[in-house]
Amino acid sequence: MSLRKWYSDSIFGRMCGLWLFLLFILPMCAQPLWSLESVGEDNYIIESPDDAADLMVYNALSPATEGMPRDSVFSRTYDDFVYRSHERWLRLIPNLGTLQYAGNIGFCAVGLGWDYGKHDRWETHLLLGYLPRWHSKQWNLTFTIKENLVPWSVPLGRPRDLDNPDCLAHHSHFTFQPAVFTFFVNSIFDDEFWTEEPDRYPGSYYRFSSRIRLSIGVGQRISLDIPHEKRRHYDRISLFYEISACDLHLISDIPHKRVSTGDILRLGIGMQYKFF
């Protein structure tokens, strides 16, 4: 059995691929290696030796450096390395949670995600969706990898402190994201669907995958930044909607007048929590 076939046929294969993807790609996206220099002085704090014992150890370890500035004594390279690798691994902890209704990924979906990039404009979500049975054979689970781009965020409401209108801290706690662009890949856990055509079909017979659906969409979001003193579990709660269209319906719509754009658009609404 070829690796590709194993990957497409086995649920373990699919999950393995997913985790490998997450483990290696996401930290890279979050903090590109070539921009590590930016992890700078501001964040980097070495506590000064605050008692005599520490100072003794310090002097004993490096007698030749007595009287020299401290930060030239410690191995800056190693500490940077530890700091950066901690920083990078910590980014693997998801900081977003999502609940979504409809929107081409199931009746309802729950997910975890990460935000990263400049101003946390990029988000990656992993969602597990539930698709009821209705007239088909069985209920299904769907799995979605969703990539969001939130280019703008507009504070809502009037500044409260009229003397200091530019200070964001005095704005209302609501912000509005006027456009959220989204792209997602959905797959359905059902043996009737295939990633690659089963062997029984001659040549490239259908030339599409019934399991993997690519969709694009756009939506809007309104967010409430919870004041720091009132936070219990969430840093920010957002309500969003998005309108998306999947690949199969897009190619049905584009060349045909009888299928209107309204026929292929699907609405999803949901809630997003930012934990930290």
């Binding site: 409809a102 929107g103 081409n104 990924i105 199931g106 009746f107 969706g129 698709l131 009821p132 049975r133 209705w134 007239h135 088909s136 054979k137 769907t142 507009v154 809502l156 409401g157 009037r158 509005f176 006027p178 959905n186 359905i188 009737e192 669907f193 029984r200 079909y201 001659p202 259908y206 599409f208 019934s210 659906r213 809007q220 309104i222 909607y241 309108i243 999947c246 199969l248 319906h249 190619i251 049905s252 045909h256 007048k257 009888r258 299928v259 309204g262 026929d263 292929i264 658009l265 699907r266 609405l267």
Partner: protein, 289 residues
């Protein structure tokens, strides 16, 4: 505050009041609109045909994703005014998504006469076969119009494994028994047979291991028997087969035993067939629209 109003305005523009907007997945099993169409249309056709020996029907096929051409063919058939019902040769959807079935059903529902369908291979993709079954009906069925018997068969074997026999000889056998019983009660009440299928013997979708068996199982139907009346070229006068699938015009005595197969091109090629069944024989017309 102006921004708040802008937001509401945007919302009201983007949210049209539309049922399909809340479809949960392309392959969701929830059908909006009319279902069980065959159960409604077949009795209509049967009651129309009661006591009739002559009627005319159109045969179209492979309308998948050709919505504009299907729109045109429906208009063309409606405008003729002489078609009694329409037979669709399968492949209503291209990818088997629920919305595709709904769009195609809505095009076909514009026909001013009843229509019947058989299942095509594209209709079986994903959850398609369950959607087809709910929206249209069972994949093997038969009905009679006047003295003509219509046998509608699922022949897309490549989409099914052995747990779902395709073609279903058990069904054909029962149907032959039904026809024999009707004819034994009232002799010559069924004298013609039209067999409708999506893929025909020799196609990659057909179970080609059983071509000869399939042929033998069609022989007992009235008009297809070995000793049934034939034309001068040796083809059956009162029985024939219809198929789609290949998207090409192909009309021939496929197995060399006098049973004609009329393969209709896809509607994309702007053609459909019209058959006029008469007491003795039938007439075939190829229409370009």
């Amino acid at each position: 505050m102006r921004k708040n109003y802008l937001w509401l305005l945007l919302l009201s523009i983007v949210f049209p009041s539309c049922d399909s907007l809340f479809e949960y997945h392309p392959y969701e099993g929830r059908i909006q609109g009319k279902t069980d169409i065959l159960a409604k249309n077949v009795p209509l056709i049967e009651s129309f045909g009661r006591g009739r020996h002559s009627f005319r029907f159109a045969f179209i096929s492979d309308t998948q994703r050709f919505y504009d051409d299907t729109y045109d063919v429906v208009n063309h058939i409606n405008a003729r005014g002489d078609i009694d019902f329409v037979v669709h040769g399968g492949d209503l959807a291209d990818f088997g998504t629920t919305a595709e079935f709904e769009w195609m059903r809505d095009e076909l529902e514009r026909l001013s006469m009843p229509y019947v369908t058989v299942i095509g291979n594209h209709d079986c993709l994903g959850t398609g076969e369950y959607i087809y079954e709910k929206m249209f009906g069972t994949d093997n069925y038969s009905f009679s119009v006047g003295n003509t018997h219509f046998v509608m068969l699922n022949t897309v074997a490549l989409e099914n494994d052995y747990s779902n026999p395709v073609p279903d000889f058990g069904f054909i056998k029962e149907d032959i028994a039904r026809v024999t019983q009707i004819n034994s009660q009232t002799p010559d009440s069924l004298t013609h047979t039209v067999v409708v299928m999506h893929s025909r013997p020799g196609d990659e979708q057909f179970n080609n291991n059983v071509i000869d068996v399939f042929d033998l199982f069609l022989m007992p139907f009235p008009g297809l028997e070995k000793d049934a009346p034939c034309r001068a070229d040796g083809t059956r006068l009162n029985g024939f087969c219809l198929n789609g699938h290949n998207h090409n015009r192909s009309i021939k005595d496929l197995l060399g035993d006098g049973i004609m197969y009329y393969g209709v091109p896809t509607v994309k090629k702007r053609k459909y067939y019209v058959f006029t069944i008469q007491e003795e024989g039938y007439e075939f017309e190829e229409v370009v629209f």
